[in-house]
Amino acid sequence: MTIVEVQDLWKRYPGSTALRGVSLQVPRGVVLGVLGENGSGKSTLLRILAGVSRPSRGTVRVLGRDPRDAAVRRHIAFLPEVTPYDPWMRVRGLLDFLQPFYPGWDSRKARILLEALQLDPDRRIGELSKGQQARLKLATAFAWPSDLVLLDEPLGGIDPPSRHRILHTLFSEFRYGEQAIVLSTHLVQEVEEFLETVVFLHHGEVTLQGSADDLRARTGKSLLELFEEVVA
């Protein structure tokens, strides 16, 4: 089953065009990497998939419906690049706040996630470091059985030695079976092994897309090398 379907997606801002005719599909259970340099349109694409921004042209369907429909967003876990939480809230308070919005929110699992990501539930969010805030965002994304997880630069702020371990723990231990995951990043090396399909974005256009294994076999290059070619 296709979770995400995007056709000829354009996004224009006053004076610039962020996305130019992007088309892609994300089947259930797949991890898609959206790779591109800064300003390539990755965040814009994820914002539109999350239903917080509108396309200028083209169609976007999540579970067959417009993600701007509130009922669809009940199935989407969206982590923006920025920290969207109130600094005065405690970590525990944030989890309590989010719980009534999402069916199937698992408080027990949320507590275990906090432990696994070494987060103190009694600390205020404003007191957390940037890396800890990034971990908290990840904890909120995997605490309930969404159909689609959108991670926009999820490793930003997390120290390099921990990045791989955290992603590995989340994807192997905390991911709900058939969740589709869309992960945007320019840190290709850290995420390469987790990606099943990839889309390379450059100046808002898809320059290369397909199965990660196929691309490697066809070109004889790693995703990082392909990324460097696209950026160059």
Binding site: Y13, R47, S53, R54, A70, D86
Partner: protein, 239 residues
């Protein structure tokens, strides 16, 4: 419903610091009114300062709520929640009403306390004057919420070219259209008027027949504008 309640509690909590500041300012205005009224017993107007404060603080609180969340990125969280966007905006207005009610109670309570203690001139307020006052506050708040929501909607939409003149022209056109609609509506309603009597400290009696047309206009205009702004916010606002 539980989700909306959680959202309302968060709204009230999130902006309580700003509310506290305006609350303190209202207390200061009260104190100023009380301290100056005995020297000018005939100047009833000074004890109305808290109300004047309310007229400024209510919009400031609402504008502050929208602006600070856009600046601090909480708007990402609110827009990503599985709640309709118009509900997010409406709950913000309700939270603002809760805060405003607090300011109003302090402002009017302070004035009433001053009268009771003889610190300000005695005023006989007729029922119709109180009604007029209540209607005035209601009209002001309705108009204000409509205008602030309208401004926020415009700010949330990436306008092509972002022409200030274009937006100003659209606003003016909309204003005139709604004004026309409101006047049309007024004409089909029976004409209303309220009499009120006001006796000041020196015993002078003022009698006035209040024409409610401006208040009605403000309420109708504010409601129409508010509904339109809410729809626009729901349909077009984005991060």
């Amino acid at each position: 419903m539980k989700a909306l309640w959680a959202l309302l509690r968060r709204e009230i909590r999130a902006h309580q610091l700003a509310f506290g500041a305006y609350f303190a300012l209202t207390l200061l205005l009260d104190a100023f009114a009380v301290l100056t009224a005995p020297e000018n017993p005939e100047r009833f107007g000074l004890t109305m300062l808290p109300l004047v404060g309310l007229l400024f603080f209510a919009p400031l609180l609402l504008v502050h709520a929208f602006a600070s969340e856009r600046r601090n990125h909480q708007v990402y969280l609110l827009f990503a929640l599985p709640v309709a966007r118009w509900q997010v905006a409406l709950i913000r207005v309700i939270a603002n009403l809760v805060h405003t009610a607090g300011i109003l109670v302090v402002g009017l309570g302070g004035a009433a306390w001053a009268y009771q203690r003889g610190l300000a001139s005695e005023v006989q307020v007729s029922g119709s004057l109180a009604l007029l006052l209540a209607l005035g506050i209601l009209a002001y708040l309705v108009l204000l919420y409509g205008l602030v929501l309208g401004m926020e909607t415009l700010r949330s939409v990436p306008l092509r070219g972002r022409s200030l003149w274009g937006a100003a022209s659209a606003l003016l056109g909309l204003y005139l259209a709604l004004r026309g609609a409101a006047h049309g509506l007024y004409r089909v309603l029976p004409a209303l008027s309220l009499d009120f009597t006001f006796v000041d400290a020196t015993g002078r009696v003022f009698q006035k027949t209040a024409n409610l047309q401006p208040l009605e206009f403000a309420v109708v205009f504010g409601l129409l504008w508010g509904a339109l702004a809410l729809w626009g916010f729901h349909r077009f606002a984005e991060v």
